[in-house]
Amino acid sequence: MKKRVIALLLAATMLSLTACGGGNNAATDNTQTTDNAADGAATDNAGDTQTADAAADTTSAGGKILSVQVGPDPETIDPALNSAVDGGNMLLHSYECLLTVDQEGKLAPGQAESWETSEDGLTWTFHLRDGLKWSDGSDLTANDFVYSWKRVCDPMVAAPYAETVLGMVEGYADAITGDLDALKVEATDDKTFVVTLSSPCSFFGSLAAFATLSPVQQATIEANGDAWATAAETYICNGPFYISEWVPGSYIMMSKNPNYWNADAIKLGGIKWNLIEDSNAAYSAYQTGEVLMIKDVPTEEIPSLSGNPDFYVDPIIGTYYLSVNTQRKPFDDVNVRKAMSLAIDREYVANTLMQGTYSPASNFMGPGWIDTDGSQFMDNANGGQPYIDTTTHEANVEEAKQLLADAGYPDGEGLPSITYSTNDAGYHKVVAEYLQQAWAEIGIDLQVEIVEWASFTPMRRNGDYDSARNGWVGDYSDPSNMLDLLYSTNGNNDGKFNNAEYDAAMELSRTTLDAAERSEALHKAEDILMEEAGCIPVAYYNDFWLQSDKITGSWHSPYGYWFFMYADIAE
């Protein structure tokens, strides 16, 4: 009898053990195949993958490995499909577009060593470098760009950024419905790539540096389908690094790409992207030295970290703003919208509630957006004055009360109770609670509604709300990228702001070839937006992160990207 009991316990044990055993084998097989693939990929960096887990600054035959954290497993790292910042950071290191953006934020040669625009602004010609190669050693030609750009329009690929980056290319409207060859992009020879636009686009150079338009290898994609971008072996790229090992949910290991044209300038042997989701886990890994840079810093640690030399706060082009449903009463009244805007103490929100990780917003377009002459767009806005003086909160509240009275609601009398909708992440909830209090001061009764993320987005887009949290981080530094949001028919115009003058200014900015006129049109649009309170800017986004001083030669761009390709690790 006793034996049977023990046998049973053993059976239960075996059950879990078989599960373990099976798992073990599978895992080992996986690593072996990836190791082999790395071996085959023209370098002998295979050693890296084994030592990858050791301390971040381990030196191996292939050079130093930089261990960083910028986010969890990216949803996709197919250049055409990616729309997230963490995926973008990885694309930046594994791919290179025709053009790149340098440390000063200026366009620089990438795969193309030079480029020119025709006088009418419609024809862009890019001249590729000599001897470009893919990470597998095969040749990369202008035809690869033709394939890749057409692929972005393919409805079966359904690239989220297709319209943003190619909408102005001639033939786009036909290409997006499936007739890919209608897209007017040509390779006149192996080294010359010509794009014809249907309307001038002064910032097309920025788009030529946009990760969505990275070249991808036709043969690999046709052989592997969508799965090509999910495994190290089939992920053929052309940038400073290639993926040598990928353990989903754990890490992506990139090794230096010897076939990259500027490989001599790359000092690191590789970059290990630790796919950590939890900020506390990331912080622990940073404290133990396993990771030298983390993007996800626990917010509760920020008060003790601010002021430390390894804690960085740097602006990115983006604004945290509130949408008010301009189609609904009482928000159709500009005075109500302005009163709501003026009642907010932005200094308090940014510096206290958001612990200084955001900056108070006086304009819609914050720091980092570039005017047509290359200067900061913000410095030229409103004659150099802020639209909203964030330092005079008391006076602002008085003005808000007056505006509300002008609208026929003295002290909020006669105003219906309104709802503020937001999802619960980051500081959204504390901001909602603050708004409740701030708007109560001028007599507005606010109900806060917390909505789950996946329901929140469509609800806001359908205009099914009173007021809601909103935000935008720029894709490229041309101001039209964010000002377009309030264009009457824009898909992101959640507030349903509809102003003929605003639309006219935006249209002028799209068609004019004159830089000064274009700048004027864009500034006029922002003037109208702020005067009409088409949305309520609250704070500018910053990136804040921890980075060890051992990392040298890296920089952070206002697009939210970290450039580690030319970095080194000090001993």
Partner: protein, 305 residues
């Protein structure tokens, strides 16, 4: 026995079908969709994506297509993790969760059963109180607290153990402790109370009167009867544990299946929601059948019908 197993398998198929159907319609009733982001995707792109994955078809047709594909073993492509199939995600991540989870259950059984027995035998003594305190803590303290405490002391402060990943045996220690804490405590309590119950039975007194030695009584007569509630508990618990814990996996950066359950739902990754739900349901059903059979083996008085 064979008839019983056949009946159970038939019932299992019906149950899985019901779970799948319910999940399918419930998840489609929830607002939102898989192709949403803060920045609106152009209507053409959304339409193209929906056409690609068949989401533009009427719901009933989608359901029939899904079910017939699933019957042929095809659980579809993940809608969010482009390029990966649902099966490949489960195949990749389940073994990892199963290894950590299986070890944790093993630890829970090896600690919980003996400690529970000891507590019952030393009822009211110091040892009993000590074990009770421990088990109360184990049940009351949530796993993320234990994770964080372990991480802070052993990982960050003392630097004894690695804090993330799963590449050596050392990496397993903290997640296994964290995962086994609750089941150990629960098994200890179950074992203690059912053991106390059994110890008070008449046949125990008879055995004692016959002069059976103390340890022998415990093993041969008491444990066999007392272990039944533990078996009931361990079955489903094993199914849940081997499919991974969201919290523990997130904190220790373990690429397991636990996180997929949550992220699939919050991201409205319909095919992955279906795949993981059906997978978990199947495991639980299997474990329940195993529990029934184990019952029969432990206690021959039980008839399987």
């Amino acid at each position: 026995m064979i008839k019983y197993v056949a009946k159970r398998i038939l019932l299992a198929i019906v149950t899985i079908w019901a779970v799948g159907t319910l999940t399918f319609f419930l998840m489609n009733m929830v607002p939102g969709g898989p192709f949403l982001s803060e920045k609106a995707i152009s209507p053409q792109a959304t339409a193209a994506l929906e056409a690609k994955y068949g989401l533009d078809k009427p719901l009933m047709q989608q359901y029939l297509t899904y079910m017939s594909d699933a019957l042929h073993g095809d659980f579809g492509d993940s809608l969010k993790q482009r390029g990966r199939t649902v099966m490949s995600i489960i195949q990749m991540k389940f073994p990892i969760s199963a290894r950590v989870g299986g070890l944790s259950v093993l630890v829970a059984l090896c600690l919980g059963i003996p400690l529970g027995c000891i507590a019952a035998l030393k009822r009211g003594k110091f040892l009993d109180s000590l074990i009770s305190v421990i088990s109360t803590c184990g049940i009351a303290v949530p796993s993320f607290v234990i994770c964080t405490l372990l991480m802070y002391t052993l990982g960050v402060n003392l630097k004894l153990l690695p804090t993330m990943g799963l590449t050596s045996w050392k990496h397993y220690i903290m997640p296994v402790i964290a995962l086994s804490f609750y089941p150990t405590a629960y098994i200890m309590r179950l074992m203690r109370s059912s053991m106390l119950d059994v110890l008070g039975q008449d046949y125990m007194r008879t055995a004692k009167a016959k002069g059976v030695a103390g340890f022998w009584i415990l093993f041969k007569h008491a444990l066999r009867n007392a272990i039944l509630p533990v078996v009931t508990y361990v079955g489903p618990m094993l199914a849940y544990t081997v499919t991974g814990s969201f919290v523990v996996e997130k904190i220790f950066v373990i690429p397991g299946l636990g996180g997929e359950f949550i992220s699939a739902i919050s991201g409205r990754d319909y095919t992955l929601i279906m795949g993981t739900t059906i997978f978990l349901a199947t495991l639980i059903i299997i474990m329940n059948v195993v529990v029934d059979i184990v019952y029969k083996l432990v206690d021959p008085r039980i008839k399987l019908k």
